[in-house]
Each structure stands twice: as structure tokens, then as C-alpha cells.
Subunit: 363 residues, 2 copies
Amino acid sequence: MKLGLFGYGTIGRGVYTLVEGLEKSYDVTIKKVFDLPIKKEQLKEKLVTNIEDIIHDDEIQCVIEVLGGHDVPYEVITRSLKKGKSVITANKEVVSNHLEEFINLAHENHCYFCFEASAGGGIPVLRPLIDNLKVNEVNDIFAILNGTTNYILTRMDEDNLSFDDALFLAKKNGFAEANPTADLEGLDIVRKINIISSLAFKGNIKNEDIYHYGITGVNKDILDSIKKEGYALKFVASSSKNEENEAFIRVEPTMVSLNHPFAAVKNEFNAVLFTGSTNGDLMFYGKGAGSIPTATAIVADLVSILENRAYIDYKNQNDLKVNQNKRNPFKYFIFASDGSYVIKEEVSDEELLAASFYARVIS
Amino acid sequence: MKLGLFGYGTIGRGVYTLVEGLEKSYDVTIKKVFDLPIKKEQLKEKLVTNIEDIIHDDEIQCVIEVLGGHDVPYEVITRSLKKGKSVITANKEVVSNHLEEFINLAHENHCYFCFEASAGGGIPVLRPLIDNLKVNEVNDIFAILNGTTNYILTRMDEDNLSFDDALFLAKKNGFAEANPTADLEGLDIVRKINIISSLAFKGNIKNEDIYHYGITGVNKDILDSIKKEGYALKFVASSSKNEENEAFIRVEPTMVSLNHPFAAVKNEFNAVLFTGSTNGDLMFYGKGAGSIPTATAIVADLVSILENRAYIDYKNQNDLKVNQNKRNPFKYFIFASDGSYVIKEEVSDEELLAASFYARVIS
């Protein structure tokens, strides 16, 4: 099988290397790579700088999209699927906005659409979820989905660093992007919990409907207070559905007690915890980002395409509504600018947003 | 698709119920159930008491084997596969002894052999491992694979129970069998780590070659000492492979530090931690036993058969040897009959077995 690779950045290079390793087991090769002309020296004659050169190449049966961003990836994915080419992507922005459309296009054009790497990075979490959902109704999801912020919170806690120093260290070690706003404010997590929740709850969710509150307000005083109370601070997405098909999805700083499985999720690691009707708690833990872990998930998808078993049965079955209110009287830690704090239930969103910093409390 | 179910015990009844729930989404039904005549009242005309009634029924394209034991399951599985019927089993004894043979038979007869439930129960761990292994070489596995013993150790620790009282409670709550020897001595874990290691290391392993040391010697004094040192006691399988294709596999009581992810694996939960060349640490956590969780894994396998994507590419690629020695100078906790203990490295197996109780120490 001939492949077209869109994007030769950090993840693209990882994919390129791993596909070369696959060539001894399968008849597979990357025929063309789309990127900017500046990559000519590395890619030689494989480089193409016009997306049409891949989309109109009938010999290419599968494309891997790791460009990032929205508009070009959306065009690449939809036009490739319409040509009957299978598509693998790690792009959470475009998948969170168009999941149902892409899966339907793949079904209509008898090809595959795979996106394991788009949520949870290198952790195989979407396929097991889809497989289980045929009998195991998942109505509660709890997840650490961003390596950058988990790394920052871990280093602040363990090395007693300030937020800025921990962010600097994250950038230095390749765990944070030059502009980390989407990570710090929770937008990256919003997209990932959207993808996971859409699959679990079988309905479309708009990113704009997901509440998020970032971690930029964390400081050492706050972490000390949280530690004193016997908790660890994590940046957590929680998502649940009730019997009226209402989804409650929130991305917010969350204190977990030290014997909760999430307390041991440190540095760039991620974890996703599902509570299902037949299976109880299931947790998946691993590296949620990074070139080679993400490329591993992409190439595992590629293998399932090569072995002709990448079909995903996803049907948007219900009229899902996203309710912006909190579902339960959750307990919250509210930190004031004078350094005092309270832990209390029955608190309004207005009160939370008026605080210097807040975190949900989970035992 | 018409199914034949072998065994209508705890797991068989769970499978029966979940397959009924699947009938709204797929054209699938259980046509016949093999069990003893005593089940006539429950199963009515679906009951058959002769395995030939299923094996020779050409309308039945897939059989689910949840009988337990070795000889009859081995006959059922091999003869069904030779007839071109796909097979799903939860039977760790028979899978650990004949994995390669079953997979080869399935390939030769153009049907599927699925065994997700045979290791890790309700946790989807084997399929993600197989998918990842195409590029992610896994040379280290660390696992809590037995719900009974993990439940006993948790209750002893948290409720301050004696071993016998915790075992009694486990039986009462359905987490231990009437004869729990295979669980307590580690034989059950041996079979499961054999299946996982065979897939990961791509070679055959004999159960007899796996070292195991049970937990029946644990008492409150020992748990208190372990707690005092800042550890939690778990019954752990560790399995690794070196560059000379030697496997080192041990099942033994193991102390994990309280910030190790395994410290939070409690009661009937299981966890499997892989360390891979491309993906780093990956952990899967969930219910490793129980009727409905195990049945969920079986029915997820069934769905992959119904969707025609259950192919497993397993090739025994190497001349794997199981080395019975310890691989590294591991650290061990050695407890003497007078209540004293030491923690030390460079200890021989003879010294370990001469102790009143011992546990490996993991930070």
C-alpha cells in the first residue's frame, strides 16, 4: 500500500521512521510527503508542496494527516475520503469538530477513518472504548488529557518550582509549545474530551459548549494548601450523561485524594477512567503526547487498515444536549487573594469565577 | 450469525444475557448451549448435552467456550476451528498451553480465534498489546492479574483482617472460589502472564517454567512491617526479555512504594503495565474477573467477529528461552519466623525460600 503523509513536523517525522520499520512485515511505503519547500533537503523527491499531488494520485490508498490546524486538514481529510482513500489523523481540532461527518464519509466511500492518536496520544483508548460500548454503556468519564499541564503541576509540586519556572522547564524539555495558551487554558483538553464523550455518549458535542477553567492561577501557596489537605492537584476533564441524554462536561483544576489512581499520574503521562454499566471502572494510562508515542498510535491504526480491520461503527443515536450547569453539588476548594481558602459544597459558578483560584475536590 | 455456547456457569450466564442485548444491533443469536442435563429447566430446548450437537451443526459459525478445565475445552476449540467455526474463549489454562496451535488453526481454516478475556478478564489489554507490537517492542511487563488475592491483601490491609478472615470475606462476596489454591499459590497468574508474555515476546512459554511463590504466608505482622517501610503489598507477575531472547518471568509477593501506580490498584481490580520501545509505559486497569466484566470482553470479541475484524497476526518469531534465575540483583524483603525482617539485595532463591515469607521490593 502506498501512503501519502501530510506534515513532516515532529509527529510526521516519527511516523516516517516507524513506517520504515513496518516495511519488513507489510507491503507498505510512504510515496509522497506534503510540506513546505524548506523540507526539500530532507525529503528529496518525496516532497510535494501542493495537496493535489497526493489527493489526485490514485496509487495512494491511504493518507496520514499530521499538519495541525483546521482548514487545510479539513480539506485534505474530506477530499481524500471522497476519493476512497483511508485517512489516519492525530488532529484533535478537526476531529472534535467533524467526527460524525468523517466517519460517514468513510462508510459511504468504503474506506477507513482512524483517529486513535487524536485523544490520549500514544494510549490506545478510543478503540477499546468503541469495542466495549456495544454492551458496556459508559456514562462517566474522568481524564487527565494534557501532558504539558500535568508536567507543569508535577514539577511545581515535586521540585517546588514557581508556575513560570515549571513552564520554562516544560518548554526546555519539549513538553510545551512556544505558545502554550491552548494547553494552559484547557482548550486542548476540551477537544479531546469532546472526541471521547462523542463516542461514549453517541452524540455530537460542540467545543464551545464545554466549560473550561485554566491553571495559570496556580501558585506555590495554593499547592501547599492543597497538599496540607492531603490532595494532589490535577487538570481534569470530567464528563457524564444522565438518563435524559444531558451531558455535563467540565475541564477544571481538580484535587484528587492521594489514594486515587490519578494521584500517581505524573509528568507528561495521561490517564482516562471510564465507568461503565457492565465493566465498572476501566483506566488507560500512558504517554498522551510526544512524537514517537503519538506516531505509535498512528501506525497501530495503519496496521489495522493494512489488515483490513479498521472499521468503526459509530452511529449518532441520540439528541444529546450539553448542560452547562454542574451536575451535582460537587465539593470545591476556593482560594482567595489573601491566601485564605475554604472547601465547600453548593457553590455557584459565579462564586468560583470570583475566586483567585479554585479546584474541584474528588475523594 | 448463530452461536454455540459451551458452559452455562457464572460467565456463561453473563455471556447469554449480554448477547441478548446485542440482538438489537446485530443479526446474532445463541442457538445451542452445552452443559449438564441439570440445566434443562433454565435452558429448555437450547440445551445440548453432547458437544457433537454443536460441533456438527453447520449453521453455527462461532462458538464461545467458557467451560473451564483443559481436556474438553481443548477438544471443543480444536475441532471447532477445524470445522471453520470462529472460537472465543476465556480459558487461561487451555490458551496458555496451546496459543500458537489455536491461532494457526484459525488462520488455516479462515476463521477467528479470540481470547481477550483469558488474561486481564474485563480489561481490554491483549488487543491493544497486539496492535502496538507491530512497532512498539515490549520487553518489560509488570502486572496484578488475580482479583482474589488482590482483594484479600486489600481487605487485610484496610480492615486489619487476618488472612483467613479476608479469604472468608472474599468467598462470601464471590471473589474467591471454593478451592482457591490456584489463586493463592499464583498458578492462575502464571497462566495469564504466560499468555501476555507469549504475545509480547513472540515465543512459546511453558507454564512449568514460570517461577511462582504464593501469598498464604502473609500475616498482620508482615503487613505492618511492610506498611512501616512505606510500601503496599501486591501479588505481582513480572516478565522481561533480554537481547539474547531469554525471558525472566516471576510471580511473587511484591512491595510497591505508595506513589507507584500499583499502590492504588485495590480489591478485585487488576492492572497490567507494559514498558515499550516507542510508547514508554502503558497501563491498563480494571476488573480482572467477575461474570459480567469477563462476559463484556467476550462479547467485545464477538462484535469484532461480527464486524469481520478479529484477525490476530501472531507469529512465533524466536527461539525464546525461559531463564529460571532472577534477572537483576533485585531488592527483597525477608521476614523471619521470629518477626524480624531485613531488606537486602543479592539474595539467592534458596535464601528466599528458607524465609518465613518474602516479597520483592519495587520503588
